[in-house]
């Protein structure tokens, strides 16, 4: 650990987490663990066709099946609910939880069956007879731009959902000035985060109290608002239980359609209804796929490697139902030029719809494909110019004395020392030895490569980028809140307002509150308020909780502390400025014997109004609702420039791979990573998220793909076909930390939940390409599957021999 601005008592120290205790005991409380008395179970009827008109649905036999309570069709549900939220302004693209009239991808849910058990519901689902008229499907990404492509949403008139062009900075002038240009294509395959827990939800309607209770494995902003909009009931009739443990999300746990199905059924049937996706439901019909992107890029640079400008077109295939998916073309605008000193950039963002499963936000919200695109270009420029890849990066990275650094799109990066982190990563990797190892492997006839990737992790959120793609979305807040109280016995309880899916928020809050209040974090209770009791929240997305929830925690704790100082001053008969606080004791500066203990003040605050300063509110309870720190809170200017995310973490990734030339199989044998996320709150949590994200990125680089055949048939519906990396595929990762605190946050913290994933795909691709470089092969499509690598090697060898 190095570079910490402050010597903290609890922050940045190795401490056990608060959450792990229940998980090791098998006492987590996940959505599927919640058994509400009398609850019924949903199974789904899925369309086998990529695109088909639904001519009729006959549920007669299903309804006669044992234990069945209802069969819900899209027509009924659409008549009774409003369409689900779309991020873009596309009124003719209507998204309902169950297909209406037309099924738009293989696996789309067409009907929902409710029965006494999931077993019986599945039996009945087989008996629902759906008459389809299959139609040709819109599948291949570039063909979706063509006017004669089959229309996914005929009413919309095109498969292009949005097409926006932006130019920031003097693009043409920079191109004119530059000595060279290089044009390339990069393809990011359709993958996702695929948590081990599928999405699950239980809904219960209480007609007397008029409350809809929802227990769900959710990670989503404005969940209750979206449920309310769809069902047409007031938001304050919905109680989302945020204390449900979420078994991983990384962005995708957005089961709004599942929730609407169960909520509607619960109200209609007067019974609690639960829908737990099975793995097949999840992979094909759960609408949880990630970005599927084609980048066409031209870089302008000089012979010395100085990169001046970039022209970029990104096409993103969001599948049949866009939801928030397309907005993932917007967030990367906040770091569109990565950690490099480009002075201009042109961006054409195109979102297309296809007959594939819908896209949801995935870890990094579009930043990982963007980083892959940038790093691919940097490697190509290095190769073109014959400059070492690391040296080229060093020449283009923003320097530590240049912060805050404003990039062309209007975002100012807060702080960083990219060169130092890169140097630390190289030292950790023992770079010279690694090169020697690679070269020895090559000399022995193996293919070996070292990857290099530098990557930024924007943190803190701020959904004003949405407005760049949809002028109607004028949302300039992205708040998070913390409520804190000290009870009359002096015990501290902090209340958060959203769910946790592995990020360790309870530890985060307890650690920061403990630091601010100088109380042992182990004694601080953290609870998750349900949505009726909660303070405003936008949920734990966007690498934002350390920043915004952490900031709100600091803020609330500081208010508590200030109030306790006031009470102490009043009772000690001195001015507030003379009271000092240290580890539970309030005393008069220079006279330590004149003091009041923490518990005494708590007791005074709660019970002794006569000892409170005049005008003071009794008791000790404070809260903070924090806007994104550093955000202007304004709309973009006329040049479309705007500060988006506030904080920028940085990583340097250095994997080492070897490839079996006979089979194309890649083994990631070593991985070193340097990372800087400002002040680390809990080192184990940060390390875990970085390594875990990195593993996820290795998956995206080498193994994971939601594959479709040319007709739009879905091929990756199970864990046999969609390949998550296991412990064999992920080496033991070594990491090194660096700390440049953010000037924008309460303790200098930045985000850390995404960085591993934001750099690993680029880094692994770089390593594979380094390994293939002696053969003159360069690949730029992810995932780089073994059969593709072997085919490229085979082709080169045939060429040479031919």
């Amino acid at each position: 650990m190095s570079g910490h601005g402050a010597n903290y008592r609890y922050v940045s120290r190795k401490r056990r987490t608060k959450e792990d205790r229940r998980f090791i005991a098998g006492k987590g409380r996940f959505a599927a663990d919640i058994a509400v008395p009398g609850m019924k179970h949903v199974a789904l009827v899925a369309s086998p066709h990529p695109r088909a008109n639904i001519l009729s649905i006959d549920a007669t036999r299903a309804l006669e099946s044992p234990g069945v309570h209802a069969v819900l069709t899209g027509d009924e549900l659409a008549a009774e609910t409003a369409p689900l939220f779309n991020g873009l302004d596309i009124p003719e693209v209507k998204w309902f939880p169950l297909a209406v009239g037309m099924s738009r991808y293989a696996g789309e849910w067409v009907a929902a069956v409710v029965a006494d058990s999931r077993y019986l519901a599945e039996d009945a689902a087989e008996l629902v007879e759906v008459d389809y008229e299959p139609l040709p499907a819109a599948v291949e990404i570039e063909s979706l731009l063509e006017p004669d492509s089959p229309l996914v949403h005929p009413g919309h008139g095109s498969n292009v959902l949005v097409r926006k062009t932006f130019e920031w900075g003097p693009v043409e002038a920079d191109f004119a000035k530059s000595e060279r240009t290089l044009t390339y294509r990069a393809r990011w395959g359709r993958s996702s985060t695929v948590p081990i827990e599928t999405f699950g939800v239980v809904s219960r309607w209480d007609p007397i109290r008029e409350i809809l209770d929802v227990w769900a494995s959710i990670q989503m902003p404005n969940y209750q608002e979206q449920i309310a909009n769809s069902l047409g009931i007031p938001t304050n009739s919905i109680r989302v239980h945020n204390d449900v443990d979420v078994g991983g999300s990384y962005g995708v746990k957005r089961g709004i359609k599942h929730t609407v199905i169960t909520a509607y059924l619960a109200r209609k049937l007067g019974m609690p209804v639960r829908l737990i996706e099975d793995r097949l439901d999840n992979m094909s019909g759960g609408d949880a796929h990630g970005p599927d992107r084609l980048f066409d890029v031209t870089l302008a640079f000089d012979g010395d490697g100085t990169i001046r400008s970039m022209k970029l077109r990104a096409i993103d295939d969001v599948g049949a139902y866009p939801g928030r998916g397309p907005l993932q073309l917007g967030k990367p605008i906040t770091a569109l030029v990565g950690p490099y000193r480009l002075s201009s950039v042109a961006y054409e963002a195109i979102s297309v719809t296809s007959n594939k499963t819908g896209q949801v936000p995935v870890r990094g919200f579009g930043q990982s494909p963007t980083n892959f695109m940038i790093e691919t270009g940097i490697d190509l420029v290095a190769r073109r110019l014959g400059i070492d890849r690391i040296e080229l990066r060093r020449r283009n990275l923003i320097r530590s004395d240049e912060f805050p650094w404003r990039i062309p799109t209007g975002t100012e990066y807060d702080s960083g020392d990219y060169h130092a982190v890169l140097a630390k990563a190289l030292a950790l990797a023992d770079y010279d030895a690694l090169v020697a190892r690679r070269d020895a492997a090559r000399a022995a006839g193996r293919l070996a490569g070292i990857g290099i990737a530098a990557c930024l992790e924007p943190g803190g959120g701020n959904n004003i980028f949405e407005q760049l793609l949809n002028e109607k979305l004028e949302i300039t807040t992205f708040v998070e809140s913390c409520l804190m109280r000290v009870d009359m016995h002096g015990h501290v309880t902090a209340v958060m307002s959203t769910t946790t899916s592995g990020q360790g928020h309870e530890t985060l809050i307890a650690t920061i509150a403990g630091e601010e209040l100088e109380r042992d974090p182990d004694t601080i209770r953290v609870t998750h308020a349900d949505s009726l009791e909660a303070l405003p929240t936008r949920s734990p997305v966007a690498s934002r909780m350390a920043i915004v929830l952490g900031g709100a925690t600091s803020e609330a704790a500081r208010k508590i502390r200030a109030k306790m100082v006031r009470i102490a001053a009043h009772n000690l008969g001195v001015g507030e400025d003379r009271v000092e606080y240290q580890a539970g004791t309030f005393f008069v500066r220079g006279e330590p014997a004149r003091k009041l203990e923490w518990n005494e003040i708590a007791s005074i605050a709660h019970r002794q109004f006569h000892r409170l300063p005049p005008g003071a509110e009794p008791c000790l309870q404070e809260f903070s609702v924090l806007q994104v720190p550093g955000a202007s809170g304004q709309l973009p200017n006329e040049k479309k420039e705007i500060q988006l995310y506030p904080c920028f973490s940085f990583q340097a990734h250095i994997p080492y791979v070897e490839i079996d030339p006979g089979t194309g199989k890649v083994e990631v044998l070593d991985y070193a990573i340097g990372h800087d996320c400002g002040t680390v709150i809990n080192p184990d949590i940060v390390r875990g998220m970085i390594v875990g994200g990195l593993a996820h990125g290795v998956g995206a680089a080498l193994y994971e793909k939601f594959a479709y055949d040319g007709d739009g048939q879905f091929l990756s519906g199970s864990f046999v076909d969609y390949l998550l990396p296991s412990s064999h595929e992920i080496p033991i990762v070594r990491d090194v930390e660096h700390c440049t605190p953010s000037p924008r946050t309460s303790l200098g913290q930045k985000g850390s939940g995404e960085g591993g994933y934001l750099g690993a795909p680029a880094a692994v691709a770089s390593a594979v390409n380094d390994a293939l470089a002696p053969l003159g092969i360069s690949l730029s499509e992810l995932p780089m599957r073994l059969c593709d690598i072997e085919a490229a090697i085979h082709e080169k060898r045939t060429e040479r021999n031919g």
């Binding site: 056990r16 827990e197 599928t198 793995r279 864990f719 998550l724």
Partner: protein
Amino acid sequence: MTARDISLTVNGEIRRANVMPRMTLVDLLRDVLGLTGTHIGCEHGVCGACSILLDGVPVRSCLIFAVQADGHEVTTVEGLADGDGEIGDLQDAFWECHAMQCGYCTPGMLIAGHALLAENPAPDTGEIREAISGNLCRCTGYTQIVEAIALCAARRREGEG
């Protein structure tokens, strides 16, 4: 199709149930016996979230029908510690190393690690990776899990030495 009575030993206690033949062992444990520590991730034998010990060896409880376990002995994550509120040494090492994030794969990982250490008190990194390779974790990237199992093994050896 008739339901049948079965009886099995779960975490040292004899438990009886009346089940349809098609009910999986994991559904029995979770839905009938209320032992929700064992999780479901795929129901087709790939992810390992449902790992339990059957007659002492680690297996996937989604690939076993409850009727097949009639008369056998099952240990779940809830049975890895001595009593309620206690935690075993492997569990403690997982906590110490923060060998989890969301905790969803954790019970399965603990079972895999427990079985490994019972067979091999001094596994090397490669052996640990092999032993947990049938258990998918999406959160951690495995490094801290491997460290936790190694830590537990080292502590046990110290304890004996």
